[in-house]
């Protein structure tokens, strides 16, 4: 291992220990901190509402980051219990919430919902959402992941701005609905966006708070991917799509980060340019070339890319961080995924901080957009150990050992190699 890598690892290790302890202390119950009155008080000042009080039907075991518009994370111990993440524990990240249906995991009704199509189309149309159920249905099992997932780990280098997600701003779900391209084909004359359309911009029915000067939330995606992949999801996990997760209709683009999967979609614009809405630029972007951690960047369309296709990533489900394990053979289990454009070919495991790696067994998902499950056995003598996982795909993309090399001010798209610290005895 080079000196540079060794020192980077050391730095990462040190920051992580400090951070973890602060987080644990913040999360400690009053009873656990009874001997530490100052800390109990500190914790009590941090209270937020329970998940079910923010969005009815959500499990109170979720980590609530924001109890106003609703931002909540799934602890890994819950996430790993299900192949398909149930709606009561699936993470939520709302910039704005559509009242009242966003406040409930109940299925939302298609009755009365419309989607407007406009821009460079033959002529603008308004689609009655109930007709979506009559079109050929497409089903996709895929990883839904907030582009901020893992943001807290950037603080190993320099703190970044936004919700301090750990691992659980993601889940695996099955969406169902017609492809957007199928809808466009039903029009007579066909509503074929003209050749100079390069982007589709999606708007949800949610709106900014009163008094905000910021424009409404919207995102643009490349036309080609939208035509190839996007579905107008009306079901999730075999049920009508819940209001909490964007129902009755959500634009879903498999392989893309969660934010691009616009909830409560009610307008699609077919345009030659990417939107210059604040949520398209400068928010939700990453630099094309790495920048020094802690330094600013003025985003332009040319020097940056929106949070579109998910970076390759792996997450260790077992053992969990700080687990006590029996010395000897220990089973390592987790999931890996990427943008689904090519396959994940390998997940590598290391127990010597990256000096040597071995390949785990890998089980590919159906369809390519879901979790690749990996399993491996490592032999751990008694003592403290760090177990690393690193995914590699067909294009040779691999997770960086030090994820901070992709540092960006808002901490998007963390995909550093994952690790857990365990004690074997």
């Amino acid at each position: 291992m080079t000196e540079v890598l060794r020192s980077a690892l050391q730095h990462v290790q040190q920051r992580e220990v400090e951070r973890r302890d602060v987080l644990r202390l913040l999360g400690m119950s009053a009873a656990a901190t009874a001997g530490l009155p100052t800390l109990t008080q500190f914790a009590s000042a941090q209270d937020v509402a329970l998940a079910s009080a923010v969005i009815a039907g959500k499990s109170d075991d979720l980590i609530v980051h924001n109890d106003r518009a609703g931002v909540m994370e799934t602890p890994l111990a819950m996430l790993r219990e299900h192949r398909i993440t149930p709606k009561d524990i699936l993470y939520i990240r709302n910039n704005q919430i559509l009242e009242p249906q966003g406040r409930s995991t109940d299925g939302a009704s298609l009755e009365g919902w419309t989607i407007e199509l406009r821009g460079a189309v033959a002529f603008p149309r308004v689609v009655d959402a109930t007709t979506l159920a009559d079109l050929p249905q497409e089903e996709v099992t895929m990883v839904l992941q907030c582009s901020g997932n893992g943001r807290s780990f950037f603080a190993r280098a320099v703190q970044t701005r936004g919700t301090q997600w750990q691992h659980g701003g993601m889940g695996q779900v099955t969406f169902r609905g017609p492809k957007l391209s199928s809808l466009l084909e039903t029009f007579d004359p066909p509503l074929n966006p003209s050749g100079d359309v390069r982007f589709v911009t999606a708007e949800g029915a949610d709106a900014p708070d009163e008094g905000a000067s910021r424009p409404d939330f919207e995102h643009s995606m490349p036309m080609q991917d939208v035509m190839d992949k996007a579905i107008l999801a009306i079901e999730m996990n075999g049920e009508p799509l819940s209001g909490a997760h964007g129902g009755p209709v959500r634009l879903v683009i498999p392989g893309y980060y969660g934010t691009m999967n616009v909830k409560w979609v009610h307008r699609l614009r077919f345009e030659a340019s990417e939107s210059n809405n604040v949520n398209q630029i400068p928010r939700y972007r990453i630099p094309n070339d790495p920048i020094e951690p802690g330094t600013p960047i003025d985003y332009t369309f040319d020097n940056s890319t929106p949070n579109w296709r998910q970076r390759i990533k792996s997450t260790i489900f077992a053992p969990l961080n700080e687990a006590q394990v029996s010395a000897g053979d220990v089973e390592v289990h987790g999931v890996a995924w990427n943008d689904g454009v090519v396959g994940v070919t390998e997940v590598q495991i290391s127990t010597d901080d990256g000096q040597t790696w071995h390949a785990a067994e890998l089980e590919a998902p159906t369809g390519g957009y879901g979790w690749y499950e990996f399993r491996s056995t490592v032999n751990l003598p008694a003592g403290e150990h760090r177990i690393w996982s690193r995914a590699v795909d067909e294009r040779g993309n691999a997770q960086p050992i030090n994820g901070a090399i992709l540092w960006n001010p808002s901490g998007y798209e963390w995909n550093g190699a994952d690790y857990v610290d365990v004690v074997a005895s």
Partner: protein, 237 residues
């Protein structure tokens, strides 16, 4: 990590926080801390601020302007104070040692009008009329609550409240954080001001006796939370 190391870390963190924490607040005491409590918790829990400790200065500046775009109402002076507080106390470098009489200065000579304006008006309005949907009116409402159950308002301010309520036929479903970082004097002064319908010259209605700092002190440490306070809300006619 061993139990011993955990405990050591606990005391390490406690040592970092204790000198800087006024009352039960989560923010290090310093010029501008009150403004952070007052402005930032309107839209998100305070943890977004405390968990962001260590942000580079440019990102704090950027964050403030982002929040203004999102609807935060601040004057130019307030914006400057927020920036100076956040970069000094939650910036990349450790915060300065607190001055010895910081806490003392904060509790003496409370001006209730000023205290209400700083801490309450952003949500409940300068005139106490509230905001449709989110935050109920103070005028004509706080005094009713105080008369029904005087302890309720004390707990409300200390621990916050969350849950749907109806006041004078209007529904509200905002979320009020706890304000336990304020001093006993400040909370008593604010409560007396609000039950008098924000009229500094008015007597307290319905034979209410003024809230006292001792009364506030006595309610601290009850360990309630916003849900428990909601459950205890008196029903009004």
């Amino acid at each position: 990590m061993s139990t011993l190391r955990r405990v050591l870390y606990a005391f390490f963190i406690a040592a970092l926080l204790t000198p800087a924490v006024a009352q039960e607040g989560a923010l290090p005491a310093g010029p501008g801390a009150e403004l952070v409590y007052a402005k930032c918790q309107q839209c998100h829990p305070l943890r977004y601020v405390t968990e962001s400790a260590g942000l580079p200065d440019f990102l704090w500046a950027d964050t403030i302007s982002l929040m203004v775009q999102l609807g935060m109402q601040v004057t130019a002076e307030e914006e400057e104070l927020l920036y100076s507080y956040l970069t000094t106390y939650l910036g990349m470098n450790p915060p300065p040692e607190p001055a010895e009489n910081d806490a003392v200065a904060a509790v003496s000579n409370v001006d209730p009008v000023q205290a209400y304006a700083t801490n309450c008006s952003a949500c409940h309005g300068a005139d106490g009329a509230g905001q449709a949907g989110g935050f109920p009116p103070i005028v004509g409402h706080a005094s009713q609550l105080a008369q029904a159950d005087r302890d309720y308002l004390v707990n409300l301010v200390l621990y916050g409240v969350t849950g749907p309520i109806t006041v004078a036929g209007n529904d509200y479903n905002g979320m009020m954080p706890g304000w336990s970082h304020l001093s006993d004097d400040q909370i008593a002064a604010i409560l007396n001001h609000v039950v008098a319908d924000l009229d500094p010259s008015a007597d307290l209605p319905g034979g209410l006796t003024p809230y006292t700092p001792e009364e506030i002190a006595g309610a601290r440490g009850a360990g309630l939370d916003a849900n428990a306070v909601y459950e205890s809300r008196p029903s009004l006619p």
